[in-house]
């Protein structure tokens, strides 16, 4: 019963409200009609205006094409106005947005050995340099922003979003663009221009990982927070000199805990290059880097088999010889091309080494320490048909001489020669995507051979980047 009452009252209410709606509608309808009328008028006016502009534009462009007719081009004024008016530039705050690009990278990695045991025998471990996580993972995603700042500066910011959800500033620098005479100063954080591969980002490498010399001597890549000045000689042969000063905190340097003023490190480099003929081009260089690591710590297994913390303060110098040679038949790299490159690294360290610096073994001892080590890699990449490339790389490190001085009782130098062999095969459907398979055999420690398979993708979104030579 109550249900029935409810229903009927609802019905009644509904009926009651209908005329109200109708009444409201009459008034509103008129209003809406007026609005539509208004809209219509305003659109008609706009369409008319657009029509007029279109006609004007057509007339202009007809006139412009007529300015260069087959009949009377001789009458062309020397400084003819552009035949087309440039497209309207969009207004608003977004009009000056910098060029934005994003690089997405990821991999599937199959390793025969536990990546936690990764180490290069006889070389100071330099941080995160292993082949990476087993199985599926994403590598660093890169976000890039670049634009002219004003009439004097160009700015570039590259952020790396790491797979463990951190943001790192890869590069953040300004370039002073207004200096004549081939001088280009750069300041901020940048990848140093020493060697060949150092200032190229990971997505531009021809292999999944950096050459062994980069991993052993730079912990990946050498970055500087500081100033770089490059000078390009006014010659037809490419001849470029560069000098850098900076905080020198990137390995083999270290963060300076005593907070001294001044310069933590510097670099000099010279590169020369050119074309042999239309098909062959090359570039070669020499670089020298000097750093003052202070209390740089790492852990090493000592003669007694104990993990001991070591602390080095002194001077590190790295010299690099690099070359790259590229061949493309008749200069056309689209169909086939070949790229050969190699770099040789020498590293010299001299300073004080503090054994058991944290006192965990109760044997703390400081002694003079010198080391001279070297290494090299050579690689070749051949594009055998459009979109497809194969490559091979050989890496080798020479443990050289390490003199532990007064710490020789605790520490022993390695005589093992770490080596690595890599084969690469990649597919590049467009300039914006690449898929790669890499197989690699690493012999970085005695009796420790790691066979690694990498399957990698690199996707680039946004602004069309230009790759350096």
């Amino acid at each position: 019963m109550s249900r029935f009452i409810q229903m009927s009252s609802a019905f009644a209410l509904a009926l009651l409200s209908v005329p109200a709606i109708a009444a409201a509608s009459d008034a509103e309808l008129a209003e809406v009609q007026a609005q539509i009328q208004q809209l219509k008028q305003s659109y008609e006016a706009r369409i008319e205006a657009l029509d007029r502009r279109l006609q004007e534009a057509e007339a202009r462009s007809a006139k412009a094409s007529a300015a260069v007719p087959a009949a009377s081009p001789a009458a062309l004024p020397v400084a003819a106005a552009p035949a087309v008016t440039p497209a309207a530039v969009s207004a608003g705050n977004s009009a000056f947005n910098p060029a934005i690009s994003a690089v997405l990278q990821g991999a599937y990695i199959n390793q025969s050995k536990d990546p936690d045991k990764y180490a290069i025998a006889g070389f100071v471990p330099s941080g995160d340099i292993g082949p990476g996580k087993r199985g599926f993972s994403i590598a660093e995603s890169e976000l890039g922003f670049s634009a002219n700042v004003d009439h004097k500066f160009f700015g570039n910011l590259i952020l790396a979003l790491t797979p463990d959800n951190n943001v790192e500033v890869e590069e953040a620098y300004g370039v002073f663009t207004a200096l004549p005479g081939g001088v280009t100063p750069k300041f901020g954080r940048f990848l140093s221009s020493v060697g060949y591969l150092n200032d190229q980002h990971q997505h531009a490498w021809d292999f999944y990982d950096a050459p062994l010399v980069y991993q052993a001597f730079f912990g990946g890549q050498f970055r500087n927070d500081g100033l770089q000045v490059r000078w390009l000689a006014p010659t037809d042969t490419y001849l470029q000199f560069g000098a850098e000063i900076g905080d020198g905190s990137s390995f083999p340097g270290s963060e300076r805990s005593n907070g001294r003023n001044g310069i933590g490190g510097g670099a000099l480099h010279a590169h020369v290059g050119g074309d042999i003929n239309v098909s062959n081009s090359w570039r070669a260089g020499l670089s020298w880097l000097t750093l003052r690591p202070n209390e740089r710590t790492h852990t090493e297994i000592d003669r007694n088999g104990n993990p001991a913390q070591l602390e080095f303060s002194g001077r590190s110098q790295v010299a690099i010889a690099d070359f790259v040679w590229k061949y493309a038949p008749k200069g056309n790299a689209r169909e086939t091309n070949l790229k050969l490159q190699g770099e040789y690294f020498w590293c010299k360290e001299r300073g004080d080494l503090r054994y058991d610096s944290d006192g965990a073994l109760g044997l703390t001892n400081t002694a003079k320490n010198t080391s001279r080590q070297s290494g090299f890699y050579v690689q070749g990449v051949y594009q055998f048909m459009p979109e497809w490339r194969v490559g091979a790389r050989y890496d080798s490190l020479d443990p050289g001489r390490v003199d532990y001085g007064g710490n020789a009782d605790y520490l022993s130098a390695s005589s093992f020669n770490p080596r690595r062999y890599s084969l690469m095969f990649d597919y590049t459907p467009s300039e914006f995507s690449r898929f790669r398979i890499q197989y690699q055999q690493s012999r970085l420690q005695p009796d420790f051979t790691d066979n690694i398979l990498f399957v990698q993708y690199i996707l680039t979104l946004g602004a069309h980047g230009a790759h350096s030579y």
């Binding site: 412009a64 094409s65 260069v68 087959a70 009377s72 081009p73 001789a74 062309l76 020397v78 400084a79 003819a80 552009p82 035949a83 087309v84 440039p86 663009t177 004549p180 005479g181 081939g182 001088v183 280009t184 490059r230 000078w231 390009l232 000689a233 006014p234 010659t235 037809d236 042969t237 490419y238 001849l239 470029q240 000199f241 000098a243 510097g266 000099l268 020369v272 290059g273 050119g274 074309d275 081009s281 090359w282 570039r283 590229k326 008749k330 200069g331 056309n332 790299a333 689209r334 459009p386 979109e387 459907p429 467009s430 300039e431 914006f432 069309h464 230009a466 790759h467 350096s468 030579y469």
Partner: protein, 301 residues
């Protein structure tokens, strides 16, 4: 360290003092603008072509030699419309030469002076190598050459006022020769009007517009994407319904795809020089068009 920096700077300053060369150094991104600069500048300019006709202009590298030449250039002439986007910005940034940066009098983009064709209605990389400003291969319409010649001559005069009259006179002479030649080419090519063609890359839009050629299909499924067998089969099927007289490609392009179509559709493959230096006859801009029309006529017979 300080010592090294000082000696390094010293060396730099010594070399800076080297005398500048008398002639205007012109850096042209592609051979057609190099040829045009030579026509207009005569012996007052020293022209360097960054690429040759057998190079795919979309796939050029920022080679050390290019950076060195841009360093000494007084004028950089590029096509624009993002044709050189993959290498020229980098070359200019590394050259340390503020006179030839975009926006400066020493930088000229040819596409700023012509009406662009095939401006895409939607911008999406899924559509291949699209150029937001329109198809950048403007050089195969000789009227575009004339449109670029005027501002280029004016620019040469601006940069080298002492020889302004010389550039003006050369431009006048070139324009007269050019307009006669264009009239001649148009007469020769009248029979080509409405000829149906297939192209390898969508690089002939301006030639088609000028001569009234009708492009039936492109062998690339999308601009800049290499021909696939699937797409070639589709083109072949289309040609059964809508026959074409020839399949046209530029000198720098691989012959595989056009041979494949040519054999099956029984139409001749035609290689066009595309730009100056594309073949032995296309030694200058006049030769480029003489040869282009001859080859098209031969193909249509």
């Amino acid at each position: 360290m300080k010592r090294y920096v000082r000696s390094f700077l010293g060396l730099g300053l010594t070399l800076l003092a080297l005398p500048a060369l008398a002639a205007l150094n012109v850096f042209a991104s592609v051979p057609e603008w190099a040829a045009l600069a030579e026509e207009l500048g005569g012996d007052q300019v020293k022209v360097y072509a960054a690429t040759n006709a057998l190079q795919d202009p979309h796939h050029v590298e920022a080679k050390p030699s290019l950076i060195a030449r841009a360093r000494n250039a007084d004028l950089v002439i590029a096509t624009g419309a993002e044709l050189e986007v993959g290498w020229l910005p980098l070359v200019l940034r590394q050259a340390g030469n503020p006179r030839v940066q975009p926006g400066q009098p020493g930088y000229l983009e040819a596409t700023a002076f012509v009406s662009m064709l095939e401006k895409p209605l939607r911008l999406d990389r899924a559509d291949g190598d699209v150029h937001p400003a329109g198809n950048p291969h403007i050089q195969l319409d000789p009227r575009n050459i004339a449109r670029v010649a005027a501002p280029l001559a004016a620019r040469l005069a601006d940069l080298d006022p002492a020889n302004a009259a010389y550039y003006q006179a050369r431009h006048k002479a070139f324009s007269e020769r050019w307009s006669k030649a264009v009239a001649q080419w148009e007469k020769q090519a009248a029979s080509l009007r409405a000829t149906a063609i297939v192209v390898h890359h969508n690089a002939f839009a301006y030639l088609n517009a000028w001569l009234g050629l009708q492009q039936v299909a492109a062998l690339e499924p999308k601009p800049g994407i290499d021909p696939t067998t699937q797409h070639l089969s589709a083109v072949l099927a289309l040609l059964q319904r809508q026959p074409a007289r020839m399949v046209v490609r530029a000198a720098y392009q691989s012959d595989r795809a056009s041979q494949w179509i040519a054999e099956r559709a029984k139409i001749p493959p035609v290689v066009l020089p595309f730009t100056v230096g594309g073949d032995d006859s296309a030694r200058d801009l006049f030769g480029l068009f003489d040869d282009t029309i001859q080859r098209l006529q031969k193909g249509s017979q």
